[in-house]
Point group: C2
């Protein structure tokens, strides 16, 4: 029979990222810089085993096997709040709600805020899941032109959009260790963005799944830390510092929004699984969770430096990148003269996987010279070998005419 | 600041069930027949502990801690399919997708099928979560008048609705051990409903979270078993036979719908947590899962019979009910002459919790004489004592004038 689907779902396509993932997962001996995955050795197996054993033998099963509150496990909510007060300077009166990953936090935020036809502004290059979340409610993602060199959205362009588009409900940003760029919006730009949000009275969704993974320097103040008005929704995730499959994220928001988010969460899936909520609470309370995060940071920093060293050895006139101070990704740009198609074909043939820039851009075009590299999942030797392959592919992508000229 | 919320969310109110739940959960020494919860002793702790231990010591963590496919764990999907082929006679070629409870199955079904203003027909008394899922996408739940004595929707009323309302996208039904009625639509009525769906070319969502819990007689053929056209989406749940907090449900649907559901699932929360997917797969493969379900059925049957015995001892002229053949609930109707407000107040004072019919009806009114009783969660002695309290409350709710007349 012929099915008639909702309009909102027609706009969505399976994330190209996911299609790539399925394709690549079938291949053996691929070096993958594609996924934003943790490596298997990042999982704190012994601690998890110990806590799980404790749950099944010492903890009341009503706590972790029964239905529970849509907002989440009260102890975990308290611990997350306390952690944010320590790691960031988030000492406000707002609550957090536990979501199934920060992906779900964005999904329910769009659900409670956007009518069909409303607009959410996004960084031009951004997380495709967030773009899908927006389209999934019939809202419209509009890209904010970026100033990549300044590690920020273009503030004038942002103001232009805010001034003329009355449909804008909120601005979606990944200010810290951006996906796919890896960069972080500097403090003064964050302040300017917050001021613009005030001036044009729109909300901000600050997505911060990588924020804990700082390798150099001091953390930059979060937008949420500047939030005197209650206009920032702040989402975090434990996918990168505990385990993705635990599906644990959270959102902090002003009470009035929180009330609606809890309702949307309840309608969506009743609540996030409590086994993992209790596991994490126990981890945070009694098993040196912060030490685990520190160890992860050291480990990832080593891989990060290996990738940076490899990339720095490549010819500057063929590839450029901004060195992030943390996170999961490094974003590279091949020289304008290079042919992206030849480049990606060469990588495919050499079985090195990266994410082409268009996949991670709102318009799905215009970023073919950019590509995203993940350094957390591959091994050190894969990083060394894979980056060399990238160098070879850059050579192959250099047009003959260009080669002759230089 | 003043927030402007999406229209769709304004229609939603916190489920009164949930409000009651929070209120009652604070009270000690309440006898609760209110929640659709399993009792703590229903959780197979030893088996879960054993399997969990195995996961952390013998299984590749990539299987249960890493990101995974939105459709779910391939082995679990296969096992669920095989189980449906055995427990029901579902031997079709369709796939299942693992959801976070069957609640999420309904949520994503509405998302992919309903534009704002589209209609979903529901049994007049039904699961409030499903009604919220419909409203949550700006679609409209319209109640189908029921013939409670015949344990079915009123077929003529259903046809009337189908004939005149072009906005109808699908019919939402809980045909087996209905929530809140406990009753099951007889075979010939199911066939008639399916024929009407064919005649007016609409889809059916068959929600079956209680279907495994048959205490008497033979299972009735599912609507999905009759589905020659690919017009039935079938959702099941492991909340009632494993553990609610595992958040494991599934949906079976024709390929073309499944493709959209997988997309909606991905956008919503990437995937359901894999720890529980692998736990359940291992349970089903190597730990006598069906014996566990059989034990549950025996255990619940004992509680069911205790409640039925108690209810049968109450005066027939004050209370009536239809005896279900399985599931979680018995629905009672007090005599029309009785005053519901007095009845519910008397129960509150005696600390016995039930769910008033209006809470579980689409229109939120017209069912004040009905109330739902759960028999799985309370102990046997709570069942005996609580039903006596109901008898007392019925007496108090009998108007003086009525008492004098009879």
């Amino acid at each position: 029979m012929a099915y008639r689907f909702a309009n909102r779902i027609k706009e969505l396509k399976t994330s190209p990222l996911r299609e790539n993932a399925s394709k690549n997962m079938e291949l053996k001996d691929v070096i993958s810089f594609a996924y934003g995955f943790p490596p298997v050795e990042a999982f704190p197996m012994e601690t998890l085993q110990k806590i799980s054993q404790k749950l099944y033998t010492e903890v009341d099963p009503e706590t972790f096997l029964q239905y529970g509150a849509s907002e989440g496990y009260p102890l975990l909510r308290k611990l997350v709040k306390e952690r944010l007060a320590t790691t960031a300077n988030l000492q406000n009166e707002e609550q957090v709600l536990i979501t199934s990953g920060s992906t779900q936090a964005m999904d329910i935020a769009v659900k409670v805020l956007c009518n069909e036809g409303d607009v959410v502004l996004c960084e031009e290059q951004t997380f495709s899941g967030a773009v899908n979340a927006i389209k999934g409610y019939g809202a419209i993602p509009i890209p904010i032109p970026m100033n990549v060199a300044e590690e920020s959205v273009d503030l004038e362009a942002l103001e232009e959009l805010l001034r003329f588009d009355q449909r804008i409900k909120f601005i979606y940003l990944i200010p810290t260790f951006q996906n796919p760029l890896g960069t972080s919006i500097p403090l003064e730009k964050r302040q300017a963005i917050y001021s613009l949000a005030q001036k044009y009275d729109v909300l901000i969704f600050e997505d911060d799944p990588y924020g804990d993974l700082l390798y150099y320097g001091e953390p930059i103040m979060k937008l949420k830390e500047m939030d005197t008005d209650g206009r920032v929704m702040y989402a975090g995730s434990f996918s990168k510092i505990l385990a993705p499959s635990a599906r644990l994220g959270f959102i902090m928001a002003p009470d009035e929004i929180m009330e609606k988010l809890a309702l949307a969460k309840q309608v969506s899936d009743s609540h996030t699984n409590f086994y993992w909520q209790v596991m994490l609470a126990e981890f945070m309370q009694n098993h040196q969770f912060e030490e685990h995060v520190s160890e992860l940071k050291l480990y990832y920093k080593g891989k990060f430096e290996a990738m940076i060293a490899g990339l720095e050895a490549l010819p500057e006139d063929k590839i450029q990148f901004i060195k992030p101070t943390g996170g999961y990704f490094i974003c590279c740009k091949m020289a304008d003269e290079l042919d992206p198609e030849t480049f990606y074909t060469a990588l495919d043939e050499a079985k090195v996987a990266v994410i082409p820039g268009n996949v991670m851009s709102v318009a799905q075009e215009g970023y073919e010279h950019y590509f995203r590299l993940n350094f957390t999942k591959p091994t050190l030797s894969e990083i060394v070998d894979g980056v060399k392959v990238i160098g070879e592919a850059l050579k192959q992508a250099t047009p003959a005419s260009y080669k002759q000229v230089i």
